[in-house]
Amino acid sequence: MLYSTRSKLVASFLGISLLVGAASLFIGVRLFDEHVFGEALNRVRQDLNAANEMYVTRVKHVKTSLSITTLGLAFISSVRDKNTTDLALRLERMAKLVDLDFAGVVAEDGSVLCRIGPDAFPRPGRRVENPLAKPVLEQRVAISGTAILSSEFLIEENHELAERARILLASGPDAATGAREEITSGMAIAAAVPVFDGNLLLGVLYGGLLLNRSETFVDTVRETVFQGESFHGRSIGTATIFLNDVRIATNVLTPEGKRALGTRVSPEVRDHVLDKGKLWTDRAFVFSDWFITAYSPIETISGGRAGMLYVGVLEEKYSDMRRQLLTVYILLTLAVMLAAAGLGYFIARRITSPIQRLIQASQQVREGSLNPELGPPANSEIGVLQKAFGEMVEAMGRRRAASELRVIQSEKQASVGRLAAGVAHEINNPLTGVLTYTHMLLRRKDIAPEIRSDLQIIVEATERVRKIVKGLLDFSRQTKLDPEPTDINRLIGAAISLIENQALVKGVAINFNPGENLPQVTIDRSQIQSVIINITINSLDATEPGGHIRIFTAASLSGNGAAQEGIEITFADTGCGIPSENLNKLFDPFFTTKGVGQGTGLGLSVSLGIVQRHGGHIRVQSEVGKGSRFFIWLPIERRAEHESVGG
């Protein structure tokens, strides 16, 4: 029981701290997810905007460079004069400056005058339609933006570019099983500007940069937007340009550390961004890692959606933060639990150690000690328990002392009783003989008077012996009680009437004041009556003529330990009193102060035995020369424990 209290307390402390820990963990993670991830998504959206802005700026840059070039008078005259050597020089310079992959001048009839690259001056006749120049020749206005360049055009323009544009489709984890095995067309940031001589359209200057396999743009985005932020050695930010749903320029890496070119976006994103033209921001599994991503569609100059721009932040940074948060929460919870367990144990110890003491104390009491160690008094309910326990043990001590006294009395009585019974039985037989023969002798008429008086003395002496033996027998006769509900006042009245004559002769008054409304007591009438008679006769013997004996009854609680309802009979005489040295011996068998032949010394002893067997007790107060008071207390209800004393 003791340990279970302790463990219960510890367990409840643990339970509470576990509950609080789990709740704070749950709330903490929820808050983290809502705020930090939400914030991360916002950030990625902004990053995408920045990337888009960079893309648009790049387009403008190309267009502006071409426009400025077409304004140069020398350039105009070279176009007009078809001075291809000069034009080639100028184109080379411009392309180098603006970082163009391709550039060229188309005459107003659509033929290529000059371009950069290995085939700078194509022979007339071999013409692949220039998708950039054509609308400008027709519309006479400049265009710029994203262009999709066919493989034929690229081969015609520069076979190296066509080679660069070719990207083999990989079958990555997210890749749909497409029919196309490779990409051959190119995606480019391009512009085309009309070349005028006054109002006369001389031709078109076009140029652009191929995005396929281009590292410049995506890496610039990464450097600019994410500023080289890295996590565990890996760049946290990534950027990608898609041609349709295929990565053609990216710094997302494969597990082997290569750029993940030729891989596809998930069908979900493709559907959302390419087909519906919407923005996508969410966490996504990109190639081999989770990213917090944003995708936006890229539209071509002619208006169709041809690809996507993507930026993404490695989610691992956040999930690592989340993991760290979780770890901190769990460690914190564990620490709190540990502290709670310790605290619980400590508190339980504080509570249970006085209880433990009490248990030890009760063990000591069980083993017979009436002075058990209760330990320092506790200042809680336990303290009350300790006090109550101490009082209980004290009361037990008092009662044990009382019962020990009773046991001693009973044992004394029993041993004397056994002896008396044996002696009486043996003596009574010869006594019968003595009585018979002396009486028979006395019946004779022929005996001398002195012999008669001698015989008379024998008879008297024998009668004395008979009385003593009878007293011994009465003493030893601890017969079973035959209790019945009795009106104690009537019983006392009857007993007094038996002695009244004797008192009258002696000149001692007996006054009986019966208490009113006394409950009935369950007693053995004849035995209690003999007690009353015995004590009254004792008082009578002790009281000189002219004195008086007062007897009265009252309801009274038992004096020793437990308050039990009962009645008390008081016998007060104006006799000689009892010296204090005799008070202790008063109830001992054979103790008497009466003259030889006047008492056996058994009366009070027998009386005490009877009263005790009723569960009552006798007290005495006495003052030499003034008188004595005997108090007999009898319980109203009898308890079985008192009955079987002696035998």
Binding site: N428, N429, P430, G433, Y437, H439, M440
Partner: protein, 122 residues
């Protein structure tokens, strides 16, 4: 009147004989229960005076035997150690009266007379 007195104490038997013969009654004595039972085979006394405490068989045993065989004979029980239990037991077995020892000749004679009288009246 014929009285059978049963007691293991010779002095009690002698005393009783002395008193009863003085009263002019016939007394048959038995010093054990066995002897009393054998006497009762042939003789029918008007009264039985029996001691309680005797060796081998006690007075109660004798009373039980007599009650079975001779229910008509009144029995007086005597004892030097009379507890209320003994008296109750004796009365339960049909004892007419209980006579505590020691007794004077008058007490014995009066007891016998009163029992004999009440029996003859019945």
């Amino acid at each position: 009147m014929r009285v059978l007195v049963v007691d293991d104490e010779p002095i009690v038997l002698q005393s009783c004989r002395r008193v009863l013969e003085a009263e002019g009654w016939e007394m048959i004595s038995a010093s054990s229960v066995a002897e009393a039972l054998s006497i009762l085979e042939s003789i029918t006394p008007e009264l039985l005076l029996v001691d309680v405490k005797m060796p081998v068989h006690d007075g109660m045993y004798l009373m039980r035997k007599v009650r079975g065989k001779r229910p008509g004979i009144p029995i007086i029980v005597m004892s030097g150690y009379a507890t209320s239990e003994t008296i109750k037991e004796a009365e339960g077995l049909g004892a007419a009266i209980f006579l505590p020892k020691p007794f004077t000749p008058d007490e014995l004679a009066d007891t016998l007379r009163s029992v004999a009288k009440s029996t003859s009246q019945d």
